[in-house]
Amino acid sequence: MALAMHDGSRRMVGNRVLLTLLIAAVAGAALLPFANLSPNRLVSGQPVMLWQALSAWQLGGLTLIGLALLLAALSQPLGGRASSRLALIATLPLLALDFYALGDYAHRALVDASPAARVSQGATFWILLFVCALIAIDALQRLRLGLARRALYGLAALAIVIACFAGELLAPLSIMREFANQRDNFLDQLVRHLLLVAGALVPALVVGLPLGLLARRRERLRNGLFSVLNVFQTLPSIAVFGLLIAPLAALGKALPWLGDLGIGGIGAAPAIIALVLYSLLPIVRNTYSGLAGVPGATLEAARGMGMTPRQILWRVEIPLALPVILSGLRIVTVQAIGLTVVAALIGAGGFGAFIFQGLGQYAIDLVLLGAVPTIVLAVVADFALRLLVALSRPADAR
């Protein structure tokens, strides 16, 4: 009987995930502010609810999008793929409206306010953005679109976001004012963040790949090697950064030419060393398991056809292990982007500098100016490397 009732509700609601997301969005919008208006940078502002912030046509548009999504969640009259397509398409105007309404509100609210007054985004803004992304993920999963169409959707969403940031629309928002103040510094820190990550990954690969091969060829070494490397993965990053300072400072003092090269207790040197230590385990482990995953029969066949050990390594083992090795690279890249934030605490710079500076001054916008780009960077790197992993697989296994 429970089953029958369950079937009954399912007959009316075609997509319970979408319905849940809609209810969450409506509840969020009803309870939490869309924006905050404060007289200056340091005073916490007053909350502005969605219906207070949006103009009549914007509210109407939002309602229409909401109704379209509700329609997509029901099994009648659309149902199936048509529903998912409608939901996917509806996310684009929702995304645009979320950004546009915030920027538009900021323009209107600041027209006759003091120059120190600030508008910042509230929880409902983030919730709508988040729900938008989740609806898109759900719809894309249901539709099982090909790579080209998924990329097309991604580009459309990206174009909307870029268009919002390109003009003056979002300029009055306090985080964008913060960005304008820090523009040059922001680019510096971005480059620095990326350099730190790259500076850690290259040595980690140079050391890690041969170590992985060694672990495969000498299985006896494997357990010892893995447990040593695992210790670094276990240690909190800030502890490793901290523990490296003293020896490196001593080294820099003892050998002044090293100090001249920039190697000292604080800054990039301990950061990069620590990042390399963190990156080694995933690279070594994935290289090992990639190679170990090559079927014994394949290796035997390669030997049987007269390949030399070197030929077997380059033509058989490495191509077959590549997807797993690249997955290791994906893990360490994302991890390094995150750990570099912490490295700002030992003066290595990067987006972490904004975060900790902002935390120190209780300047939330500065915190966000560091945190949000770091997250975007990590997600983008993850996505790009996942794509690379997929491309490294044989075409029929993607």
Partner: protein
């Protein structure tokens, strides 16, 4: 496992492992309680520092605060995460499984430090944002591994359980959870280890932890503080990891 009676080398390895874990625990407790006794050592190592021993709080307090942060957040993470993992693997919640899985995968690419920073505008400074960030972040590996662990239970085993007349809750409690336990605990292990690290940074948003002397040392250029905090938190992480390794092994069935 390759015999009914574990071989002598295995026993010897297990004994060595016990000894090492025991030694590390003793070291952790001794350092937590007796860091002050090491003051002459730090004075000798850092002759330039006027005050080479962190005294604003006892290391025992800091250790307990740190463990408290991790324990509270991990308990919430485990309860919520396992419940969510169970929900999306039952018939009623299966529709949510792809969404929750990709959410857990994407969420884990977020840097923990950035999540901690973003919790500040939501919850202010102090204990609350740290607990929120730790709980949210700790959820993800638990959910992911709960789903993965339940997914490793062979279909034939489930069919046999049903065919032998077990009810849905009996199958869950007697078959699925015990078989998934190793993978679930591996997820909890990842989550706890990350949280021990993130709790350290929690002191930058005002939560008391072993990171407090560490960060104070970095800011105030006092390397002795840095080493005192780093040693303790590093030991705590290693001991915790080894304990979880044991727990995981306890739930290994088959090879």
């Amino acid at each position: 496992m390759n015999g009914t009676i574990p071989g002598v080398p295995r026993l010897r390895a297990a004994a060595a492992g016990n000894l090492r874990l025991g030694a590390l625990i003793v070291l952790l407790v001794a350092l937590t309680l007796g860091m002050a006794q090491l003051e002459p050592l730090f004075r000798a190592l850092f002759p330039d520092l006027g005050n080479p021993l962190y005294r604003r709080d006892s290391f025992l307090n800091l250790m307990l605060a740190h463990i408290g942060l991790v324990l509270v957040s991990s308990l919430i993470s485990v309860v919520v995460g396992v419940a969510a993992g169970l929900f999306v693997t039952r018939p009623a919640g299966r529709e949510f499984e792809p969404m929750v899985s990709s959410l857990a995968a994407i969420g884990q690419t977020f840097p923990p430090a950035a999540v901690l920073a973003i919790a500040v505008p939501l919850a202010g400074f102090g204990f609350a944002p740290t607990i929120i960030a730790l709980t949210l972040y700790g959820l993800l590996p638990v959910i992911q591994n709960t789903i993965a662990g339940l997914g490793t239970v062979p279909a034939t085993t489930l069919e046999a359980a049903r065919g032998n007349g077990m009810s849905a809750s009996q199958i869950l409690m007697r078959v699925e959870l015990p078989l998934a336990m190793q993978v679930i605990i591996a997820g909890v292990r990842i989550s706890v280890i990350i949280n021990i690290g993130t709790a350290t940074i929690g002191s930058t948003v005002g939560a008391k932890s072993l990171g407090t002397p560490l960060i104070a040392g970095l800011v105030g250029n006092n390397l002795a503080y840095v080493i005192q905090g780093a040693l303790l938190v590093g030991l705590l992480a290693i001991v915790t990891d080894l304990l979880f390794e044991r727990l995981e092994r306890h739930y290994a069935f088959g090879d």
